[in-house]
Amino acid sequence: MKKSPSVLVIGGGSTGTGIARDLAMRGLDVTLVEKGNLTHGTTGRMHGLLHSGGRYAVSDQPSAKECIEENRVLRRIAGHCVEMTGGLFVQRPEDSDEYFEKKLEGCRECGIPAEVLSAEEAREIEPYLAKDIKRAIKVPDGAVDPFRLCVANAASAVEHGARIETHSEVTDVLVEGGEVVGVEVTHQTGTGPYVHGEPGEVEEIRADYVVNATGAWAGQIGDLAGVDVEVRPSKGVMTIMNTRQVDTVVNRCRPKGDADIIVPHETTCILGTTDEEVEDPEDYPEEGWEVDLMIETLSELVPMLAEARTIRSFWGVRPLYEPPGTGTEDPTDITREFFLLDHADRDDLPGMTSIVGGKLTTYRMMAEKISDHVCEKLDVEAECRTADVPLPGSEDFTVLRDYMDDFGLRSPIGRRSAQRLGSRADEVLNSVDPNPVVCECEAVTRAEIQDSLDTAGTDLNSVRIQTRASMGNCQGAICCHRMANELAPEYDETTVRASLDDLYQERWKGERHAMWGTQLSQSALKHMLHAATMNRDEDPAAADADIDFAAFDDGGASEDDASGVASGGAVADGGRKQAADRAGDDPLGGADGDN
């Protein structure tokens, strides 16, 4: 039997995993390498908007048409990753009528369902909209979980025979005889899932074709191959609120601008964003004024945001690209279209194509186009099926029933689990017994954590993005050590501890952008629980020096053996409040629940 042509895809974001799935479904032999987690780059750092196309209906109609088309496709193939919240373009008194009309007309020209609502009608949908708004346009925007989407694409690719290597950085592009023939990859640990403490290794992976799908990092891969890819990374801030102040995507109806969108996402809302060009996609300032700008500007649309609690902020870099010689100065003017750069045509370097630009909503279409291109190069005839075959988890939605009886999980937990797992709910939730809740904020049970460990190895940040555990209000204060405990007994205690430290530090990074008011109180509680209660900051097991245990209080064991249990006596054992009260206590308490 003839061996299938092999393709190496660089980049584990939505585009890369989308390409891997598409090509694997067409029967090619696919390997995907990603230097961090899946979604490590831009995919994991976006606001989660499933575009209706409304945002581009005036400025960029081709993109708008692609968006509405793919919006419909994703609802079909990725139902468990999408929440159709609907969206509003809200006009304030100072926003121009002319633009409002253009937006409406643009939507209609692009086939985007659009309905004008009076201020009163808009407030019926979103009661916290400002009293003085003028009117709104209703469009089919939605929310998409980029993590789940990406993981589902990767899972589907693997089902079709692909190999996915995360934590594996491309450290060289192999060029022989003027042609790209593969890459050199440095695995942070061995091949397969990441495991703390395992030694790294270097591997040469040869392939018939290489696809550079690294987005904002495409220039760096280009450098390794000796070609110029002029990406213009642009950063944007996203500020996460503690709850859903709105249940609909709320856009400001005015030409491009900072801080003009609120996306309800799972248990939170995400405020976005800014648009500033940066030199290095991994090293750029994350500044407090950007967070302030989100709160101050977006509270013009939803006034309660001014006093609401944010739980963290994060930044992403857009993989913007413009063809050489365009010379756009303001990054907000750079096109959101995607570009396929065939390095054979462009740089006389066959064997590799880069894909740059674009947006999450149209990831599948981008993947289809580049897969068509790769197939043409490799002389493979195979149809794209990704628009029709549902992703793993979205095959059958009869599972979204009441899970309370099936799993002994209380209704909200069962429902949340089933929403995340989609048609995999039965398989996953029945796999573990007993199945206690690990993350209370996000209602994640042991079964979901264990399921995610198959691909996460010991990387709890990968567990987090797959399950949402530690992404809620307490930011892992209550659950991150529980998540780490789930690694045992497969992994040893030292590994459990290293994984916990990594996750804790990652959470802290984003929390720092929300440390005032209630969230500072929450962070102070976290500091108390992990430093005071658990002594994780001074853990003697991690210290170099040995402890002289004999110098400490031995409980009087030497002189008095009565320190033990059954030493009766009249003990002031306390006024007995009803234990029943306590059973209902929210363990997040104090900083979180007592308000």
């Binding site: 407090g288 799993f407 999980l409 007993p434 199945n435 206690p436 690990v438 209370e440 049970t445 042991r446 209550i478 529980r482 405990n485 789930e486 045992a488 205690e493 530090q505 802290w508 720092r512 440390m515 005032w516 008011g517 500072l520 109180s521 102070a524 500091h527 108390m528 992990h530 005071a532 658990m534 002594n535 994780r536 003697p540 402890i547 002289d548 245990f549 004999a550 110098a551 031995d554 409980g555 064991a557 008095d560 320190s563 033990g564 249990v565 059954a566 009766g568 006596g569 009249a570 003990v571 002031a572 054992d573 306390g574 006024g575 007995r576 234990a579 059973a583 206590d585 363990p587 308490g589």
Partner: protein, 422 residues
Amino acid sequence: MAITDDVLVIGGGIAACTAALSAAETGARVRLLAHKKSTLRQASGLVDVLGYAGGDGPLSDPYAGLDALPDGHPYRIVGEDGVRAGLRIFDEAVGDAYRGGHTDSNALVMTHGGAVKPTARYPESVAPGLASSPGDMLLVGFAGLTDFDAPVAADHLAAAGVPFSARGVTVEFPKRFRADAKVTRFAKALDRDEDVNGGTVRSVLADTVADELDGESRVGFPAMLGDDHDEDVRAELSDRLGVPVFEVPTGPPSLLGLKLEDILFDALDEAGVRISAGNPAVDFEAENGRVETVVVDQKSRPTPYSADQVVLATGGLVGKGLDSDRESVTEPVFGCHVPHPEDRYDWSEPEAFGDHAFARFGVVPDDELRPTGEDGEPHFENLRAAGGVVGGADVAREKSASGVSLATGAVAGRLAGEEATR
């Protein structure tokens, strides 16, 4: 007519209780104004005094670390005498429910993650499990409780070099609960010794653990061995197993923390302290540099409480005795000065366990524990502060949280009581 007392203590945690007990010792008529449940439900129930100072630690002698603390640290203000006074009041209040008072030395106690930490007082149920006492240890965890993984904790203990062997096992609790049942449900089943297949919860649990026991001389469980009848539960398990059983302190909801709260409130009752609970202090009236009344929001009806002396023990950031917004940090009841860096990004450090400024936020006390203004002068001549609302200590990293509350509570309460009864 305002309700009138000699000393009014605002707060409901360890510092407030200690201040009230200390003031009552002077013969003053004392009232405690507690808003809501204290943060003790989130605390392990251990009483840390000082475990790390000046880069040293774990300290076997907490007093040896006092001089290494920075100027302005509350311990530097109240001194060793203040620390000892706090512990004396605590020991008298809790009686046999706590251990550790027989020595100045810290004990090393295992935490639910398995790391050991230095602490000065520990519940009697914790005592048999000290990491600084000998005896091989079997740790028992439950498949349905995620907070404590016994095998991981045992290996963690071993990694710290404890002078005994530790082994962990995970077992099924004799009774099945809803998947998200909390530790309190387990405790209740043991309290009531509920019937289960093959006997009762206690007997079946003991049988299960006995099968696992392999010569260890003590057996530890997460702190869930009963609530109302905890002594009976431990005694029965210990009796059936033939070795002492102990509890490992846990995070929230912490039964040991809740029990400590109950014990302290009993002690207040016994000392004749009047308690007004359930409503927040929201405002005050002052005259001639003295606080005259504290205004409590009693279901939206402002109710004045007047007193000769006032102790502010409302807690730190966690207990909401301190508040903040994007620009500033404030003490919300009296508006006391709380120094802080101007840029909120300087309030914390990028490293999760760094030297965070926020950890030391609080009012700045003078040598009589009176909060001072920017000018260094006391805001009010009769207002003192105790516990988490006092700045200058990173109690989490120092392992000094309860100790600072006890010491400042004892001193502030005594000074207030003496002034009021002079």
